[in-house]
Amino acid sequence: MALEKGRISNFQLSVLIIGFVFGSSVIISPGGKGAGHDAWIACAIGLMEGLLIAWIFTALTKQFKDKTIMEINSLVYGKILGKGISLLFIWYLFHLSALVLTNYTHFFKLQIYPATPNTVTLLLLILVCASTVGRGIEVLARLSIILVPIIILVVFSDTLLLIPHIDFNNLMPVLDVPSGKLLLASHGAASFPFAETVAFLMVLAFVDKPEKAPSAVFGGLLIVGFMLIMAVARNAAVLGPMAEITIYPTYLAAQVIDIGDILTRLQVLVAISLITMGFIKITVLLYGTVLGLAQVFNLHSYRPIILPVGILMVIFALTNVGNTQEMVDFAEQGYPFYAIPFQIGIPLITLVVAKLRKLPQTGGDQV
C-alpha cells in the first residue's frame, strides 16, 4: 500500500489537531446559539464529549495499527459492506469540507470582499490546499508546525488586548440557561468542532509511534479546547448581550480592540488567521477524501484526483445553501444530529464488531 510513504511524528499530530479544530471556529463560535452567555460552559461540556469520541476512535486505531479507516472497514465488515461504509465516511469528509468552505464564503462575502465572486475566493483556496495535499501528509504536518504557533499567538494576543474591555458581569449569572438548551448547545459544540477530529482516522495510520498517538490526540484536543473556551468566554465578556445576536462574535470582538489609538483594526489579524486555519482544516479533509477514494477504488496514486475532487467541493459549496441563514440553521440544528452516525456511529460500531470478531488477526492487509 504505497499510497502514502510519509510519516509524521506525534508532536506534529498534536499540532495538526490544534490547527484543524481551530478550523472555522472563528466564524461559527462553538456552543454559541441557544446557550447565551453560558456558551463557554457549553463549550467545556462539548470538549468532554469530544474527548470521549476521540477515545473511541483512537481505540480503533490502536487496535489496527497503520491502517486507515478504509482498510479497517474492509477488514471488519468484509470487502463489499466495508467499502460501502467507507464510501459513506468519505462522503462525510467531503461534505464537511464543503461546509467549511461555505462558512468561509459567507464570512468573506460579508465582512471583507463583498464584490469578489465566491468562485474566485474558493478556487484559490482550494488550489493551495490541493497543491499541499499533492505533496503528501508530511509536508502538511511540517507546515502546521510553522502556522499553528502563529495562530496561537494571534488568539492569545487577541484575548490579552481585550482584557481592558472584559466585564465579568456579562458572564453572570452563571447557568442561566435551562439545562435542556445547554445540553443541546454542548452537543452542538462537540459535533462542531471537537468530534470532527474523527477525520483523523485517515491520518493516524501514518504516525511513526502509534502507541503514543492517542495521548497526542488528547493533548492536542485539550489545548485547543481550552483556547476555544477562553475565546468564547472572552467574546461574551467583551460583547455582552450582542454576542448572541451577531453571527460572527470573534470578529466583532476583535473590532473593539483599541490600544492607544494605534493598535486598532486588528480584526484583520483575525481574518488572516482564519484563512490559515481554514487552510489546514480543508487540506486535512481533502487529503482524507482523496486518500480514501484511492484506497476504496484501488488506485495506484491519489494525485490525479486531487484537483477534480477539490473543484467538486467548491461547486458543492457554492450550491448547497441558498443563503446565510440556511447555513446558520443547519449548523445549529441540523448538523449536530446529522453528524452523529459518522462521528460516533461508524467508529463505535466498527470497534465493537472488531472486538467481537477478535480482529485483527496477524497478517493480511488488503483493502
Binding site: T116, L123, N169, P241, L252, Q255, V256
Partner: protein, 394 residues
C-alpha cells in the same frame, strides 16, 4: 486519464476562472475615489422623512503646507475647511444614501466614522431603523460614539467648525471622550448602546451636544459645541435628559468615574480613583439597592482660610461624601421620575437572583420607581498639596 478528458477538465477550470478575471478587480477601491465620512447625522421630521448629513474629509485640505501633492487648491479666505457637509433626504437611511450618490463624486466610506449624531426631533420619534442598519452592516464600527443633539437638527451641529481639530467630527468625539474622562458626562459607544437596548430593562443613554455662541477675536460671533447633558431613552426613543449634576451622579453609580473634581462649598478635590458597586437585595417583593462608592482624592482648592488639621481633613472628607451622595440621589430621583433604569439595577438583580428574576422582569417598569436606594460613600483625602497653612488666616 485520456487526453480528451484532461483537456475537458482544464477547459472547465478555465471557464470557471476566466469570468472572474475579466471583470476586473472587484473590491479594489482607490483611496481617492472614497469620501471618508467622519461624522453622520440623522434627522427625521414629522412626516417620517429621513435626512442624513454626511461630514466628509477633504484630504487635500489637511496637508496645508507641504508642497508636493498633486491637486489641493487653496481657497481664498481665512479659514480653510477640511470638511465638507452634504445632506440628503429620503424615506429611509438607505434611500437618503442613494440620493447622495446622485451628486457625490466619491463613494462614502464609513469605516472611520466616529460620531453618529441624532437630531432631537429624531430621537423623540425613535431611532430603530438606524440601529438595525448599524448592527447589520459590517462596515460600521462598534466603538463609534452615539451622540444626541440638543438642537432640533443634527445638521446644525455637524457644520460647526470648532477649536483645534480641523476635522469637526473627530474633534467632537475627542470632546466627548474628554468629558467622560473628567467624569462629567458619559461616553457611549454603539456597542454599549446596543447592549443596553438588548437588556430589556436597562435604559440606553447617550451624551447630548449643544451649540453656544461666544465672541471671538475681532468681535465676530463664533458658534461652538459643547456637551450639555445626558439623553435617556426607553427603547429607541428619548424620553428625557439628565443635567450636569444628575449625569455625574449617574457616572458615580455605574463605576464610570475616572478623574475629575468634586466641589464642596469650602474646597475642591481632584478625584484620583473611584470604584462603585451596585448591591441588590430582595426582601419579599421589595427590591433594595445599595450603591457603594469608594473614592480617593487630592485637595486642590481650599477656600477656608484655615490651617489644615487632621480633623479638617475628616470634615472635608465628610463634605465630599455628602456631595457625592446628593449627586447620586439626584440621578436616582430623575430616573424614577422618568421610570428609566439607567443604572442597570435590573441586571444587577438578575445576576444575583436568577430564579426570582423571571417573575420580576416583566413587572420591572412598575417595580422600578418603588425601589429603595441606599447610597454609601467612603472618601479618602490622600494628599493636601504643598502647603498646609493658610496664606491669609482668619
Amino acid at each position: 486519464m485520456k487526453r480528451e478528458k484532461r483537456i475537458k477538465i482544464y477547459v472547465v477550470i478555465l471557464l470557471i476562472i476566466m469570468p472572474g478575471f475579466l471583470s476586473g478587480c472587484w473590491d479594489s477601491h482607490e483611496l481617492n475615489k472614497l469620501s471618508i465620512v467622519s461624522g453622520l447625522g440623522w434627522d427625521i421630521d414629522n412626516t417620517g422623512k429621513v435626512t442624513m448629513t454626511y461630514q466628509s474629509i477633504i484630504p487635500s485640505e489637511i496637508k496645508g503646507s507641504s508642497g508636493s501633492n498633486g491637486g489641493g487648491e487653496q481657497k481664498g479666505g481665512s479659514q480653510l475647511s477640511a470638511i465638507q457637509l452634504n445632506q440628503d433626504t429620503g424615506s429611509s437611511p438607505y434611500d437618503a444614501l442613494s440620493r447622495y450618490t446622485q451628486h457625490a463624486s466619491r463613494i462614502p466610506y464609513y469605516e472611520h466614522t466616529q460620531i453618529y449624531l441624532f437630531g432631537k426631533e429624531g430621537v423623540q420619534r425613535g431611532i430603530y431603523p438606524f440601529l438595525d442598519t448599524q448592527a447589520r452592516n459590517p462596515v460600521s464600527r462598534p466603538k463609534a460614539l452615539m451622540v444626541v443633539s440638543a438642537e432640533e437638527k443634527a445638521s446644525d451641529i455637524l457644520g460647526i467648525q470648532d477649536g483645534m481639530e480641523n476635522i469637526q467630527a473627530f474633534g467632537m468625539a475627542a470632546e466627548i471622550k474628554l468629558s467622560a474622562t473628567f467624569s462629567k458626562y458619559p461616553e457611549v459607544t454603539v456597542l454599549q448602546f446596543q447592549n443596553r437596548l438588548l437588556s430589556k430593562t436597562t435604559a440606553p443613554i447617550a451624551p447630548m451636544v449643544g451649540i453656544f455662541e461666544e465672541t471671538g477675536p475681532e468681535g465676530k460671533k463664533i458658534r461652538r459645541t459643547r456637551v450639555v447633558g445626558t439623553a435617556v431613552f426607553k427603547g429607541d426613543r428619548m424620553i428625557g435628559q439628565l443635567n450636569e449634576r444628575e449625569s455625574s451622579g449617574l457616572l458615580w453609580a455605574i463605576n464610570e468615574i475616572k478623574i475629575g473634581f468634586v466641589m464642596i462649598p469650602e474646597a475642591s478635590m481632584e478625584i484620583v480613583s473611584a470604584k462603585s458597586k451596585i448591591v441588590p437585595e430582595l426582601q419579599g417583593d421589595q427590591v433594595k439597592i445599595t450603591i457603594e462608592i469608594d473614592e480617593e482624592s487630592n485637595l486642590v482648592e481650599y477656600r477656608g482660610h484655615q490651617d489644615i488639621t487632621a480633623d479638617l481633613v475628616h470634615e472635608l472628607e465628610k463634605g465630599q461624601a455628602k456631595e457625592i451622595e446628593s449627586q447620586v440621589r439626584a440621578a436616582v430621583e430623575k430616573s424614577f421620575a422618568l421610570d428609566a433604569d439607567v443604572f442597570g439595577f435590573g441586571e444587577a438583580v438578575h445576576r444575583k437572583y436568577k430564579k426570582e428574576w423571571k417573575d420580576l422582569k416583566p413587572r420591572w417598569d412598575d417595580i422600578y420607581s418603588r425601589i429603595e436606594v441606599l447610597v454609601k460613600v467612603k472618601t479618602h483625602l490622600n494628599e493636601i498639596g504643598d502647603v498646609n497653612k493658610a496664606l491669609i488666616k482668619d
